[in-house]
Amino acid sequence: MNQQPNVAGNTPAKPFLSLTRINKHYRGAREPVHAAKDVSFELERGQTASLVGASGCGKSTVLKMIAGLLRPSSGEIHLDGRRLTGPDKGVGIMFQQPTLLPWRTVTDNVLLPIEIRQGKAAAKLAAERAKSLIHMAGLTGFEEALPGELSGGMAQRAAVCRMLVNEPDLLLLDEPFGALDEFTREQMNVEFQRICSARKATAIVVTHSIQEAVFLSDVVFVMSPRPGRISKRIDIDLPRPRTPDMVTSSAFNEYVREIHHCLFVRNSEANHG
């Protein structure tokens, strides 16, 4: 399987993804909000990173800046040697809600990115690719179903397929499984990291579940609010593929404890300050 060591010795000098001193100020109701302060990190190809933190710590803001949906007030983002200044073909995104178009079948929803970027004819040609993605996601038989006929977990699987159909270099997931029940969520996590490993995908996951972050990631960035910044980087040195029973292992829980401690201590400091 794809054993993914953290920053191995044979990587080129330039990282695959780099954020350099990213800042983001919002105009708040009373005073400007410093949503992200000097956020810098690098990611190698094939790595999965998680951003964890309490609500309002700026983790979604950082993700949206990478996605090109928000413009950083300062700082630069580079992906695979080019500077990102807006939405990019090489970046796929999914949200907490499946955001499927309810009048389109699963297949047509999966093909939406191709239809938007290259037109209907290109989407038709890619139908086979969509089918195989749908099959891989365990939605065989639901190709012509409408989103309203799917369960929450199935709809989110379709959203994963849609994110992958353009074969993006970088996957961005904003609390992707947060709206699902606990069982479905675990199952989705297992499958998602299987997909990532199989495609050697690079991914950034925003989550407020510490377990989820540890389970999915090679590296976890703990963020703290006001101003939103990365307060700690924790490399997760667990073998891949990750399996559900790993969640109960002592190594896994040591990471969970470390991150929990980070978040908890920071929070209580902030509350006293």
């Binding site: 949206k64 996605a67 090109g68 949906l69 807006g86 939405p87 073909k89 970046v91 995104i93 949200f95 907490q96 809600q97 955001t99 178009l101 309810p102 009048w103 939406l112 990115p113 239809e115 938007i116 970027r117 365990g138 939605l139 409408l146 309203g148 006929e149 369960s151 977990g153 199935m154 069982f183 479905t184 199952q187």
Partner: protein, 284 residues
């Protein structure tokens, strides 16, 4: 998928409750058409009783039987090609043109307001302001501007009924969820792609709600126009019948008008059902 079979959905749970017949009340167990019919019989009985007991002159308030006679006369005249048919054709033409004009104006204006910043900020306040005016009061002006022919009625109908189309179109185009707009933005969708592939389909239920209102209101507009500006439509027949104190005739002609409104309303509903097929599959 396994996850669908494990936990029953809310619809399945609902069906289980409905199958439990013993706990359902009389109203829940009776078919709706029986209830509708029964209530109608009660209403007519009260009407007859009111006429009989109050001693009001049938010139002022005719009983159900007199009205039925007038209705039969009106319908017979309509289908035998009499003057009621001529008047109906005039009114129907006015309603169709008025409604169509309202659709064109309403959809265009609504799209400008819903899809552009300038429309939302600069034009919307005027639409809201004009909407608060009692539009029926403009009828004499429309007669003065467009004359006693069909034009003034068409304009009046369009004037009254383009508001719900405008406002619903604008609201519908603005109702798309922020996440979906973000998804389209991340796909670098062009403005027209976002409008046609995302916002418009989402707006359709709103737009059709507006069109259904417009269907009914355009009949109101035509009748107001005919009351004010005469002409040869049903509104004029109503005016004449009322001036002759043939109240039963008035009722019959009003029913005829409501049939026109209902037909147009049903037609719009049919078109809506065609365009929102996915919704029916959605809620099965």
């Amino acid at each position: 998928m396994a996850e669908t079979s494990v936990i029953p959905s809310s619809e399945q749970a609902g069906m289980l409750i409905e199958e439990d017949d013993a706990h359902r009340s009389f109203v829940e167990r009776t078919p709706q058409w029986v209830l509708v019919l029964a209530f109608g019989v009660i209403l007519v009985t009260f009407w007859q009783a009111a006429v009989d007991l109050s001693g009001v002159s049938p010139l002022v308030l005719p009983g159900p039987y007199e009205v039925l006679q007038d209705l039969i006369f009106t319908v017979t005249n309509l289908f035998s090609g009499g003057y009621v048919l001529d008047a109906t054709i005039v009114t129907v033409v006015e309603v169709i043109f008025g409604f169509s004009l309202a659709c064109v104006i309403g959809l265009t204006l609504g799209a400008i307001i819903g899809a552009t910043e300038i429309g939302r900020k600069a034009i919307m306040p005027y639409v809201v302001a004009v909407n608060t005016m009692p539009k029926v009061a403009f009828a004499p002006l429309f007669v003065a501007w467009f004359g006693f022919g069909v034009e003034s009625k068409i304009m009046m109908a369009a004037f009254i009924s383009f508001f719900p189309v405008t406002i619903n179109t604008a609201a519908g185009l603005g109702a798309t969820s922020g996440d979906l707009l973000m998804l389209f933005r991340s796909l670098e969708a062009k403005r027209w792609q976002t409008l046609l592939k995302l916002q418009l389909p989402f707006a359709l239920p709103y737009i059709f709600a507006g069109l259904k209102l417009a269907a009914v209101w355009s009949v109101i507009g035509v009748v107001v126009g005919e009351y004010m500006g005469g002409g040869e439509g049903i509104g004029e027949l109503v005016r004449i019948a009322a001036s002759q104190l043939r109240v039963g005739r008035v009722f019959a002609q009003i029913l005829l008008l409501s049939m026109i409104g209902l037909s147009l309303f049903s037609l719009v509903s049919l078109v809506e059902a065609y365009f929102t097929k996915w919704k029916q599959r959605d809620n099965h």
